[in-house]
Amino acid sequence: MTNPAKARVATIWLDGCSGCHMSLLDMDERLLELAQRAEIVYGCLVDAKEFPDNVDVTLVEGAVSSEEDLRKARVVRARTRVLVSLGDCAVTANVPGMRNPFGPGPVLERAYLENATLNAQVPTGAVPALLPEVLPVHAYVPVDVFVPGCPPSADLIFSVVMDLVEGRQPAVEGVARFG
């Protein structure tokens, strides 16, 4: 660890709408308080290309929908001590999971063929392949803390992260709810 006083915190965005990250930012000035206790070592707001080693806490937003999501989830899990599923998409698959009753085929056709005005074709190769089912993160890798909500409130995210960096078991049960 570069700074022994500070916990190394990361965030990652799989198949979600970025709302959970927005909610994270909604903690406003408390971000400064957090910054005193934690160093954000990776995330959409940090200019780092590779997910680093030795991360204390990673907040995962989004469900696992594609092969790329799955690869990321595995990397993140391997390099993180406490993995947090943040928000309904990560916890239940939520909106991305709404394609599950139909499978990826019809979804791709709807998006790239039926609704395309120009150059209708289902992309291959350049974008990661969709998995047959959209699943929550813990369907693939062990998750330590679940924070449901769409999105979880800034207050809740703040208290969970502070609890974790200060070595407490975060209080989520009975507080957080789906939706």
């Binding site: 309904d88 239940t92 139909f102 089912e133 924070v147 449901p148 789906f178």
Partner: protein, 235 residues
């Protein structure tokens, strides 16, 4: 139902009820909360959701408090780690059985299932979702039935039958393929028995029945209206 007094102990508290009164009813009179879903005061109890199960001393079997009458000297426990774990599982089974996406649901923030999950501390599910293909019936001119959200509690069936007297609703099929049906399986809009009174919509605990034109989180029930509805049914 005679009115003899029955004294019993619920969660260590001495309480009294009338003979024939349910454990649930006595508990609620004494501000002891037991989670329920299929139960609605004023409708006949069916004991099907199993959330209200409690422990009774002297028997290893759990009993459904909504359909079990109090008895003299009974010792009831409504909270234990076992009951909590079981109730969470029931909620989990319901969430994973159909397609519940609270964030885009008309009932978001007004839903009994969603609130049960929160109050029971369910933060995630271990069971895989079944994600069945379930229909949305929007053929009625004022209401919508979304099977994706239905938990088969049967409250609409009983409200329609016991209060409105129409018996438009019933349940067809078996097991997890069971579905709510109007009449003998017609689209709701074509039902010849539905009086469009909207009682079913008011008693539905989830986002399965709602008024047309409602969007996400707008299906707030006029709950104070419900006791009035069902009180008429009892008279």
């Amino acid at each position: 139902m005679s009115d003899e007094v029955r004294t019993l102990v619920i969660d260590g508290r001495d309480v009294a009820g009338a003979s024939g009164q349910s454990i649930l009813s006595v508990a609620r009179e004494n501000d002891i909360e037991i989670p329920t879903l299929c139960h609605l005061e004023g409708l006949s109890p069916v004991g099907s959701c199993r959330l209200c199960m409690v422990e009774v001393e002297g028997t290893s079997r759990l009993v459904a408090s909504c359909v079990t009458a109090v008895e003299e000297g009974m010792r009831v426990t409504t909270r234990s780690s076992r009951l909590l774990a079981y109730r969470r599982r029931v909620v989990e089974l319901l969430f994973t059985e159909r397609n519940h996406v609270c964030s885009v649901c008309v009932a978001d923030n007004h839903c009994e299932l969603q609130e049960l999950a929160r109050s029971l501390g369910a933060t995630h599910f271990e069971l895989a979702p079944l994600h069945p293909v379930a229909e949305v019936d929007a053929t009625h001119e004022r209401f919508v039935l979304d099977h994706n959200r239905c938990v088969l509690c049967g409250r609409c069936v009983r409200a329609c039958d016991e209060i409105e007297g129409a018996h438009t609703w019933d349940i067809r099929g078996r097991g997890t393929t069971a579905r709510l049906v109007a009449d003998l399986g017609v689209p709701w809009g074509e039902s010849t028995t539905c009086t469009s009174c909207g009682k079913c919509v008011q008693v539905c605990p989830t986002g399965a029945l709602y008024e047309k034109g409602r969007s996400v989180a707008e299906a707030k029930r006029r709950r104070p209206y419900v006791p009035f509805l069902v009180a008429r049914g009892q008279a």
